[in-house]
Amino acid sequence: MKAIADRRHHRMAPVVLLLLALLLTGAVYAALSPTPAEATAASEDDIAAGAALFRTNCATCHGPGAEGRDGYPSLIGVGAAAVDFQVSTGRMPMQATGPQAPAKPPVFDEEQIAQLAAYVASLAPGPSIPTADQVDPAGGDAANGMALFRTNCAMCHGSIGRGGALTEGKYAPSLGGSTPTQIYEAMLTGPSSMPVFNDANITPEEKQDIIAFLEEQKQGSPGGTDLGAVGPVSEGLWVWVVGMGLLLGAAVWIGAKSA
């Protein structure tokens, strides 16, 4: 004990202590900080494979270095999340120009999408793909998600996320077929007409709440068929054409002479 007490007053002691503290902080940070899923998986090989895929499939529009050109956005800094969203929903690669890239069956498999995402993420830092925990609907509060969805999303996507029309042929798509990861990525990156809802606006926990709310909507309506849940158009069509048609038919039948 005497020896330690002596050394405690050594003039190098503060430096040694500071170094130890820094090491400890670094170790704790490394152990505790959430690492994005793709960060661990993205190796040099993945980036190289992604670059090859990019040159073959994407460089025609986005440029050989993903720097973009007139009418085609630069992908530098869009992050892995944007690539995963656009490619896993089949929006990219685009097959034809139009008001907006429609969702279609994806062209690449999961591994290829991860490679492309790794390549684009290697160009510049950007939003990464959320972890499975971050998008787990079971961890969200659907009631709070509904309040947030009503304020931030419902004006375009409709009150239960069935989508709606925008201007000049653009539209907010239905969210019924979107995976929780895709919903999270869309909020984070703001694809096409959609604004960005970054983590300072809607926190990761709140994003999870919104996902929980949307997952609940996938169970459908407790009242029976919801006629597409697109609002008064389909319901009005049903009432005016089918409902009133039946009433008119019944009135004609009652009044007609029988043979």
């Binding site: 201007t167 309506s221 029976g224």
Partner: protein, 346 residues
Amino acid sequence: MSTEHSQSTELTAAATHRDVAGPLPERFENPGLEPHRPRLTDEDPGAARRATRQVAALFGVSVLGTIGVIVAHVAFPPGDSVASMRTSNLLLGAALFLSLIGIGTAAVHWAKTLMSDHEVVEARHPQKSSPEVREGAIAVLREGAEDSGIARRGVLKGAMISALALFPLGLAVPLIGEVGGDWNVGAFRHTMWKRGTRLTRDPSGTPIKAEDVTVGSAFHVIPDGLREQEHWIEEKAKAVVLMVRLDPADLKSEQGEGWSYDGIVAFSKICTHVGCPVALYEQQTHHLLCPCHQSTFDIADGARVVFGPASRPLPQLPITVDDEGYLVAQSDFHEPIGPSYWERLK
């Protein structure tokens, strides 16, 4: 029959060639009733038996439907899940439909095929009362007026007319008084926003730092302290704001010098057409679309109307940051928010 037939042919011919054959006849002959045509079920006992079976079957459908309602009620309770509620509602509804439509269609089919269908003529009695009754009524009225002496007693006549004429005011004044509250357009000229009010997130009410609003972001904004207001929903309906950040290079114009902050612009969310919340923001074109009547505003150009029935831009909220870096309002809106007709009363 044959004379009737030829007559009607003549009439048709006259109607078709009116210009040539001269005017229509003065009076149409009463064509009378069509001859009674017996139905198949009146003449063919087989058809009658078939119709009887059909009616019985329809009543049977109703019976099955009623049994179905009870079975659905017992066997498929609503339960706790959405799917079980849907099954319960669907089965109850379908069975109830069958039990009612069975009774209805059976009754109509029965009446049309099996009940007697002989035409019955029931002459309408004249609506006008007989002369004696009419004279009697007038005599009674005249007698009453003479008895009251209304012609001689001018004071009573005036008092009665005054009372009757004033009575509607008791109903009209409170009703018009209620309307009066909405005529106070000053309420629409001012909102909760004033110098230094922080912009906060809707619905959480947390303040927003300028650095949090990245390019392409859209924030739905309410004023700080909204929920402490006595009539906070009314205040919210006037004060809601949509805030977005553009690349400062894209910002073509704004409604006042220095009203934006480093590409962050804030506009009233109440449409200047009829007051719907305008919130469909298209990030790439910087267009803001109203869902009610498709008015479109260009956020990059001072919310200029680019399409639709709105007649003036959305009022811009002048913003800046306070010394802690939070976004605050410079002042209230500089013009009334909402539908343009309030502007006329300025």
